[in-house]
Every structure is written in structure tokens, then in C-alpha cells.
Symmetry: C2
Subunit: 362 residues, 2 copies
């Protein structure tokens, strides 16, 4: 027996539609009528039934964000940013956790919930280029990341190759010659792992360093635990290492843990850089240098693009947006004063641009 507009209408002595008009801020209502309706609403404790409205208007003012796992800090922070951006458009965010399951990702695109939200921001982890057909959906879609290239959807991605190259060159510029990579996915051709690895290889080449397969640390899931294991495996195998490029910050934290366990000094013996610039690395001991892919901007842009699509910019072609990334230097690659983060390089779509701006770590 929830209270409906009908009940309010009866009590206020007006039609249902007038109640609806009051609720929706329709201007042409006699002040006296408005007051009567508002009093009735107040008195009965009436709440608009959003579901009914959604059905009638075919809009929900909600969007879906599909990410692998909230327990990965990068995605938690991304979700936070997306929620805040969405809020500014009056949108609520429904988060779907795909748990790194291919089937869950397929489901998300299948549109089983097609009508529950107005659009989808999707960060795929398992689906790749070969699943491109699945991305032809009949609802507004914005894809994050670079696992899928020519999907018929707007893309917000990052400068993976260039940024990874810049990170590698940063390590090389410290005089390091045995730069390990943590988080490789052998055989993968698209996706963050492949792209960042490509950047790493380019960086090596540009620095005149040889490529050594022993330095390629495979790690399927990019968690702290896998980072620690991969680093440990490499060290225990006796591979000589004087720098580490972890393909994300969670693995960098894991690697740092493994290095510490073996009493290997960072950055003294081994320099370390990560990727994502999550909050953690600004407070770890030592603080860890990282690639800031422009998370805030990614979130904001993704929401903006989605909102445009929802509004019906069907004619427009599919856009690809690549926010600028930056290399943020911290203790793990030098002697930066604690609490500070020095922007070592700004990576722009065109390439790497050296700058010397100081920014606070937060």
C-alpha cells in the first residue's frame, strides 16, 4: 500500500496530472494549488515511484560502469571519479563487477539490462580484438582502455605505449641497465599489457639497452600478490636486476614488498616505477614513481562522451580520446623530497615532451 500520485491527488482535490506537474516543476500552476498539493505530499509521505517514471519516460538517469574489480585500487579510484562526474550531470552510477570473467563481460555487453540504465562505460579485461562483434550494441557505449581497437563505440584510452616508453627511459636515465618488467602477458597483441610492453621495448632500444627475456615477468592478474610473486620468482632465479617497471601500481607495491623481504634497497640497489599513480604509491615506503594516466580526465571524458551519446549524437562518428599522461617521480627512482612528486615528463599524444613543472603528490 505505498502512497501514489492518485492518493495525493484525491487529498489535494486535483487531478493526478496536476500532482505530476507539481512534482516535475511545471511552471503554470496556481500558487494555491501548488501549496495544496505539496501539503498533501508532505502529509502522506509520498515518494515518486522512479520505476514507473523510468518506464514512461524511457530514461533512467542512471548509467552503468563495468569494471573488473573494486578491490583493485585503480578501479576503485576510477569508480569514485566516474561517480563524481556523473553526479554533475544528475546521473547515478550502477557498478557492475565483472570479476575478470569473460562470461560476465559478455553479459554486460549483451544488454540483459539494456533498459535499466541509459548507457554503459565499459572497461574490458578479458574481451579483446577478436570479440569486436560484441561491441556493436544498440545502446550508448563508451569503452575504456585499449583492448579493443576498432569497436563501433567511443573510446577513452591512454597513451600506453608512449608512457611506458617514457617510464623505461626514466629508469635508463638513472643509469640502470637491467630493467625488469612485471606484468607481461605473453602472446597478447592488444590490451594494456601488450602496449605497455611495446613501450618498454621501444624504451630499451632508444636507450641502447639489450632485450633480455629473463627480465620479462609474466603476471596474469595485476594484483599486489601477483606482483610480489613475479618479482620474487625473478629474484630467486638469480636474474640480475637494477630497475623494475611494474605495469601497474598494485604490482609495483607487491614487487616492493618482495624486494624488501630480500633486503634489497629501493632505489639504492633497484629503482622502481609503476603505472596508474594511485593514492597508495604516494604514501608507500619508499614512495613509488609512477605513470599518471590522467584518471580524473579519463573519468570525466568518458562520462561526457556517454552523456552526449545518450542525448543522441548518433550522426557523429566514433571518437577516441587520449588524455595526456605524466611521469611522476618519487623516492623509488631518486632522491625527491618526501611528500613531493616531481613531474618528470608529460606524455602527449604526439610523443614525449620534457617539462620541469613541480606538482604536489597530494
Amino acid at each position: 500500500m505505498p502512497v501514489t500520485m492518485h492518493d495525493v491527488a484525491v487529498r489535494a482535490g486535483v487531478s493526478i496530472k496536476t500532482v505530476s506537474n507539481v512534482v516535475n516543476g511545471y511552471p503554470h500552476i496556481r500558487p494555491e494549488t501548488r501549496e495544496r498539493v505539496e501539503a498533501a505530499i508532505e502529509h502522506l509521505g509520498y515518494r515518486l515511484n522512479t520505476t514507473a517514471r523510468n518506464l514512461r519516460t524511457r530514461r533512467t538517469d542512471m548509467i552503468t560502469l563495468a569494471v573488473p574489480e573494486l578491490s583493485l585500487p585503480y578501479f576503485a579510484e576510477l569508480a569514485d571519479s566516474v561517480i563524481r562526474s556523473a553526479e554533475q550531470h544528475g546521473l547515478t552510477v550502477l557498478i557492475e563487477q565483472t570479476s575478470a570473467s569473460r562470461q560476465r563481460e559478455v553479459e554486460v555487453l549483451s544488454g540483459r539490462r539494456r533498459h535499466l540504465t541509459d548507457g554503459l562505460i565499459f572497461s574490458p579485461l578479458e574481451l579483446g580484438q577478436e570479440d569486436i562483434g560484441l561491441f556493436s550494441v544498440d545502446f550508448p557505449l563508451v569503452v575504456l582502455g585499449e583492448r579493443v581497437f576498432d569497436a563501433p563505440a567511443d573510446h577513452v584510452t591512454m597513451n600506453n605505449v608512449e608512457a611506458a616508453k617514457a617510464a623505461t627511459l626514466h629508469l635508463a636515465s638513472l643509469g640502470r641497465r637491467r630493467i625488469a618488467l612485471i606484468g607481461a602477458h605473453e602472446g597478447e597483441e592488444v590490451g594494456s599489457a601488450a602496449l605497455r610492453t611495446a613501450g618498454y621495448l621501444q624504451g630499451l632500444e632508444e636507450a641502447g639497452l639489450p632485450y633480455d627475456p629473463a627480465l620479462m615477468g609474466e603476471a596474469g592478474l595485476w594484483h599486489r600478490a601477483t606482483g610480489a610473486e613475479t618479482m620474487a620468482r625473478m629474484l630467486d632465479a638469480g636474474v640480475e636486476v637494477d630497475a623494475v617497471f611494474a605495469l601497474n601500481d598494485a604490482m609495483a607495491l607487491g614487487a616492493l614488498h618482495a624486494l624488501h623481504a630480500r633486503r634489497i634497497d629501493v632505489p639504492g640497489d633497484v629503482a622502481l616505477i609503476g603505472f596508474d599513480d594511485i593514492d597508495d604509491v604516494k604514501y608507500s615506503v619508499p614512495t613509488i614513481s609512477s605513470v599518471d594516466p590522467g584518471r580524473e580526465q579519463i573519468a570525466r571524458t568518458a562520462v561526457d562522451l556517454l552523456v552526449e551519446r545518450i542525448a543522441g549524437s548518433d550522426g557523429r562518428g566514433y571518437r577516441r580520446v587520449v588524455p595526456d599522461s605524466r611521469i611522476v617521480g618519487r623516492e623509488s627512482t631518486g632522491d625527491v623530497p618526501i611528500g613531493d612528486g616531481e613531474v618528470i615528463a608529460a606524455v602527449q599524444p604526439g610523443g614525449i615532451e620534457e617539462v620541469a613543472v613541480r606538482a604536489q603528490a597530494s
Copy 2:
């Protein structure tokens, strides 16, 4: 022009209701009819309109989880756990981020979205005992934490006082006598800060240690940054400290950062323990001891209770569930082998029970 059941019905030559029956797995349907309907669904690319179904059935199979901020690891991990638990009941989770805003919290309870989900799991941060009236809502509600006591709702909380006391005693058992507290909220009477502080004071007393106001570190928001600032302020003021109890792990990480910046050895000079047992502290350098409040169990219980309420256990009284917590010892309070976490104490509703079980860190 989305495809509706009507379109499917026409194409299959049956009534709308039969299509509905097929979609919902109603058993008494001739196989041949079912096939025709399924073929039509497939051919037209029909997707059930969840909104319409929700309106008609008055169920949404969604629940809301309202938390302060996903960028706080504890809440990100909690959300992860809640989502997984909900999944097992066939429920989807809508996350509302209240951003530590009182107004947002009031709104969540106001039921503006009353009809959008079947129930609410609410972790308040700003609302307290004085707002108890707001918790009388006409929808299923489970409250997390201990900011509100006698609200007419099920509660899943934690053993804040006992666990904090155990943590304090653990530090005292190491011979530490100047135990700082980080994260106090002066003047607060309920809520995690007040309860954990109470436990701290009880612990001091039981250990025969004097109370020193200089050791009470105020910190409004429980972030890494505030933990670092509070610790730094205390150290820079010359307060003598040989142990730190941070009221959550994020602040513990911040405190560790501040200690490190001042070349103070942990645990050599200062022992450190946090609260929440988030994934971070298992990989920090050094690893940080913490109170594990039983996050998984909290999430599971909260979802279970909510599901029961949704099913209509109206008669039942309001329940309060307090999962067991444990003190997990790591490097920051001793010489535990790296990667391991030793359960130092199991805190049960009745008090503190000493055990000697070993558990893996992750």
C-alpha cells in the same frame, strides 16, 4: 522502436502472456510453442525490459549500498564483498557514494529512490545518535557500524571497543609505554572513533599505563593524508612516542609514511598497528599489524539480513550481529616472517580470547 514482447508474440503467433511465460521459465508450455517463441526472440533480438517488469512485480532484485567513499580502500573492499555476496542471491548492487556529506546521507535515508531497489545497506559516517528518527524508514534497511545504536533496523557492527583494547594491549605487551592514537574525534560519543578510543583507554588502564592527552591525535577524515599529517604534527611537536595505534589502516599507512620521512624505524623505534586489515597493509614496508574486523563476514551477514527483510520477516525484532574480530600481527609490531600474518588474539563478543592459530596473510 525497441522490440517488445508484443513484437515477439506477433511473430511467434502466440499471445503476449505466452511469451512472458517462456521468458520466465513457466513449465507448462508445449515444446513446439517454446521453440517458436525462442526463435522469434532470437530473430528480433528481443531483450526483456527490466523497468517494466520491476514496475509490475514491485521487485527490482537490486539493493543499494551506501558508503562514504570508494577511494577509501576499506569501503572499496567492502563493496567488493557486498557485491559478491549479493550476486549469490541473484541481486545487483547500486552503490551510492555519500562523500562524507551529511546531506547526502539524509537523502539516502529519505527514500528518494525508495522504489529503485529492494533495500538498503547503509554505512553512515555523518549521521549519528541524534538523527535516529531518520532511520525509521518504510523499506528494508541494514545499518553498518556503530554510529547509531537503537535505530529501528538490523545492525551489523564490529567489536570496536574490545578489538581496540586488544590492539592497545598488544602494543603494551611489546613493552611500549608511549602509545599514540591517530584518528580521535574529540567530543564524539558514538561512532567508530569514540568506541575505538574507549577501547584504547581501557587498554591503557589494563596495562597500567598513564593517559596522556598529548598522545591523542585528532584526525577528521580517516585518509592516508590525514594520518600522515597527524603523525607528523605529533612528532614535530616533540611528543615522545614508542608505539602508534591508528584507528584505521589508511591512517596507519600515512603514519608509517610520516615516520619513515623522519628516519624513525618501525618497529624498532615505534611499533604500529592499524584497523581494518585491508590488503594494503599486507604488502607495505614493513607490513602492518591490524585488527581484522571480519569484513567478509560483515558483508555476507548484511546481505543475508537484508534479503530476509526483503522476503518479509517483518515480525522479527531488530537484530544486532557482531562478527568476531582478530588481531593480525605483522612486521610493524614484531618479527613475524614476511608474508605471514599471525593471529594474536581473537576478539569475541564476550571479550578477548587468546589463541595461537596461524593464518596466511592473504
